[in-house]
């Protein structure tokens, strides 16, 4: 029998769970745990510079690997600083376990120093949460937390641990549970065969089908099966912002992203389709535009592991609840069977459909003819991302923050693999990109990990440059420098008569090159179009240092297409500053 203190149990349980990194920040309530880390831990701990960054770093790790990211913060301000990152993970269904310190049990409720009701504050943004009541519960609760975070529809789980329960002098028997079963939580393991049969019958008859796939396919490991299904059927595929990479970006059948800044061909195909196979998506308002005008002719098959996602905003004709990989596997085998018994898709109708899609592509497709070129003599952000894509052969991990740069990175980098495009889609958290990149680079030191950002976003967690120095994390940061809160400015240009209320910095920006040099990193500035390729090459050739590329771009560029709202449908878009559908 092994006796451990609560603090030691935390460390041991994380080891037994196979945790690779802890992202955290110490403070009074977690000092016993930190002492146990000092004495007993084999798990590298990354000391960030702000708890928000710890959550995003753990989140980046989780998105890139599929395994839960782990965060350790102290009570009070440590816990509240973690909230934005927990909400970010929650909105995108990312597995994460957050251990927060709490004041001593007997002080709870007394407004003790650094007390905050972490369970209360985090309740609407966690999949589940626990407060430890006795040290002996720690292994069981940690096991449950990892199980809940990583199964079904994944999400963050908070464990709040009062300080006295980690006291090094109180030791209890340590047993890490082998298995976990909860009577109140039993995620589905497969889809309903009858429903899948119904869906397959519809697929075989479709004349204008589209596969609309999202983050659920990335998270649920359904990418290969999605490719197999789409290619067997010769159906066009569009991905949501969260789903990019689930279908190879360079494949002929890929229509690009859909939604507010989606591709003309993708949004049009959706609008005119007669059958939508929606997988691992949630018909987000950034996709559908006006719900009542959404895809008027389409029959909708909706596959998701979370029943609450189905028919939440758009009613599904054929709902299928199940893990995307299991459902896709069964669909693939049913389609194969149908084809083996002589059934065929409507090839003639599909040919007509593809011709129409190719026409849309030729008219306004972003990848067909570059539409952003002009004679301004300025660097165009789209061109920067395209160059980055070419130089990294579409294989880098790209993280992003939130704004115009994020949309350019989603539109112009062609992701051929899932888990390579890492962004905060649901919550839209500025400040996500750099810490997320750190979490990924630590796990994949040989890969290019590049944070595409803007001056607004990068400054929300810029202190992490210091963490990168301490742990030698050579990520690349590509700042699309437009001198504005670009996306805000774009809306103000389009909807507020160009009144730039609080979206400019008025010459207050730091010299980013000097700034990163002060942290011991490399800074490279790009100011002219002809420097773009050579300087990007130069930056990418530096493998062992963090490189900040400050790329001065056309400050007035806008992201297009852009859905016309309110009251627009999927196909109603601005295509440039002057053209609309």
């Amino acid at each position: 029998m092994e006796l451990l203190s609560g603090g030691e149990m935390v460390v041991r349980a994380l080891q037994d769970e196979g945790v690779e990194f802890i992202f955290g920040y110490p403070g009074g309530a977690v000092l016993h745990i930190y002492d146990a880390i000092f004495n007993h831990s084999d798990i590298p701990h990354i000391l960030v510079r702000h708890e928000q960054a710890a959550t995003h770093a753990a989140d980046g790790y989780a998105r890139a690997t599929g395994k839960p990211g782990v965060v350790l913060v102290t009570s009070g301000p440590g816990a509240t600083n973690a909230i934005t990152g927990i909400a970010t993970a929650y909105m995108d269904s990312i597995p994460m376990v957050v251990l927060s310190g709490q004041v001593q049990s007997h002080l709870i409720g007394e407004d003790a120093f650094q007390e905050t009701d972490m369970l209360g504050i985090s309740r609407p943004i966690v999949k589940h949460s626990f407060q430890v009541k006795h040290a002996s519960e720690i292994p069981g609760i940690i096991k449950k937390a990892f199980y809940i975070a990583s199964t079904g529809r994944p999400g963050p789980v908070v464990i709040d641990i009062p300080k006295d329960l980690t006291n090094p002098h109180d030791k209890y028997e340590y047993v890490y549970p082998e298995e976990m079963r909860l009577r109140s939580y039993q995620p589905v393991t497969k889809g309903h065969t009858g429903q899948i049969r119904k869906a397959v019958n519809l697929l075989m008859k479709a004349r204008r089908p589209v596969i609309y796939s999202g983050g659920g396919v990335v998270q649920g490991g359904g990418s290969e099966l999605l490719v197999e299904l789409a290619q067997m059927l010769n159906f066009p595929v569009t991905n949501t912002l969260m789903g990019l990479g689930a279908y190879p970006g360079e494949d002929r059948q890929f229509l690009g992203m859909l939604g507010m800044h989606g591709f003309y061909e993708a949004n049009n195909a959706m609008h005119h389709s007669d059958l939508i196979l929606a997988i691992g998506v949630r018909f987000d308002d950034r996709v559908t535009n006006t719900v009542s005008k959404f895809c008027p002719d389409a029959t909708i098959i909706h596959v998701d592991v979370d029943p609450a996602s189905i028919s939440k905003t758009v009613a599904a004709h054929v709902p299928i609840v199940g893990p995307v990989d299991a459902v896709l596997a069964e669909m693939v085998s049913q389609v194969k069977e149908a084809m083996a018994s002589g059934e065929k898709t409507d090839e003639e109708a599909l040919k007509v459909w593809w011709d129409r899609i190719d026409e849309w592509r030729a008219q306004h497709g972003l990848w067909h003819t570059p539409r952003y070129k002009d004679d301004s003599g300025l660097i165009k952000p789209q061109e920067v991302i395209e160059e980055l894509w070419r130089l990294t052969k579409g294989e880098a991990f790209i993280t992003s923050d939130v704004g115009q740069h994020q949309m350019y990175a989603a539109q112009y980098y062609r992701y051929n693999k899932p888990r390579r495009w890492i962004n905060s889609g649901g919550l839209g958290t500025m400040g996500f990109g750099l810490p997320a990149a750190m979490g990924i680079k630590l796990k994949f030191p040989e890969d290019d990990v590049i944070c595409v950002t803007g001056e607004g976003s990068i400054q929300m967690n810029i202190q992490e440059l210091s963490t990168c120095t301490q742990y030698d994390i050579p990520v690349k940061i590509l700042n699309l420098h437009n001198g504005y809160l670009g996306m805000v400015k774009q809306w103000q240009d389009m909807q507020y008569g160009g009144r730039y209320s609080q979206s400019t910095y008025e010459k207050s920006l730091p010299d980013f090159v000097k700034l990163v040099e002060a942290y011991g990193h490399v800074g490279i500035r790009i100011t002219k179009p002809e420097e773009l390729r050579p300087k990007l090459e130069e930056a990418l050739a530096i493998k062992d240092r963090l490189v900040f590329i400050d790329c001065m771009i056309d400050p007035h560029e806008h992201v297009y297409p852009m859905h016309i709202a309110p009251n627009g449908s999927m196909r109603d878009m601005w295509l440039s500053k002057t053209e609309r559908t």
Partner: protein, 163 residues
């Protein structure tokens, strides 16, 4: 439409706040809420009355089911069921009002459970509608205090909500 949703959940700290929080977070209505431990001390039974169209009710039941603490759930209004609510009502009772209140209580099969020289406290069990009608029936008698338990309910016949 009015729905009575009844569920079994883990008798754990925080479970109730998750249920209640869900309603405010997602903008759903709660008309009444009633919760207590069951014969199995590890489980609580919670019954709530809510209103919404079919789509909203479907979301409510799905979101409730998604809570890790919720073990099982039933929308009682979907089948034959018994619905009861308990009310304690304290009223001014003077002179002729005393006899009238006594008569009214008998008609509604309510009981007078506490008496003073100037007040009656009446206890009554029934559907929420029946409790409402009692309040109406006593007309202009002054109501001093009303305490209602919120609805609890159970399915008729063999059907049970159990693990």
């Amino acid at each position: 439409m009015r729905h009575i949703i009844s569920l079994l959940m883990e008798n754990e700290p925080g479970a109730l706040s998750r249920v209640v929080g869900l309603f405010s977070q997602r903008g759903y209505n709660i008309e009444s809420l009633n919760v207590a431990v069951t014969d199995d001390a590890t489980m609580s039974r919670l019954t709530l009355v809510t209103v919404g169209d079919e789509r909203v009710i479907e979301q409510i039941t799905k979101q409730l089911n998604k809570l890790v603490d919720v073990i099982k759930l039933v929308d009682l209004t979907e089948g034959a069921h018994i619905e009861r609510e308990m009310m304690l009502i304290k009223v001014r009772a003077l002179g002729a009002q005393r006899a009238e209140l006594k008569r009214c209580s008998d008609i509604f099969r309510a009981q007078i459970v506490d008496v003073t020289s100037s007040t009656f406290t009446v206890q009554m069990v029934g559907t929420s509608e029946k409790l409402d009608s009692f309040i109406q029936a006593i007309g202009d008698i002054a109501i001093l205090e009303v305490v209602r338990s919120g609805v609890s309910g159970i399915a008729r016949g063999e059907k049970t909500l159990s693990v």
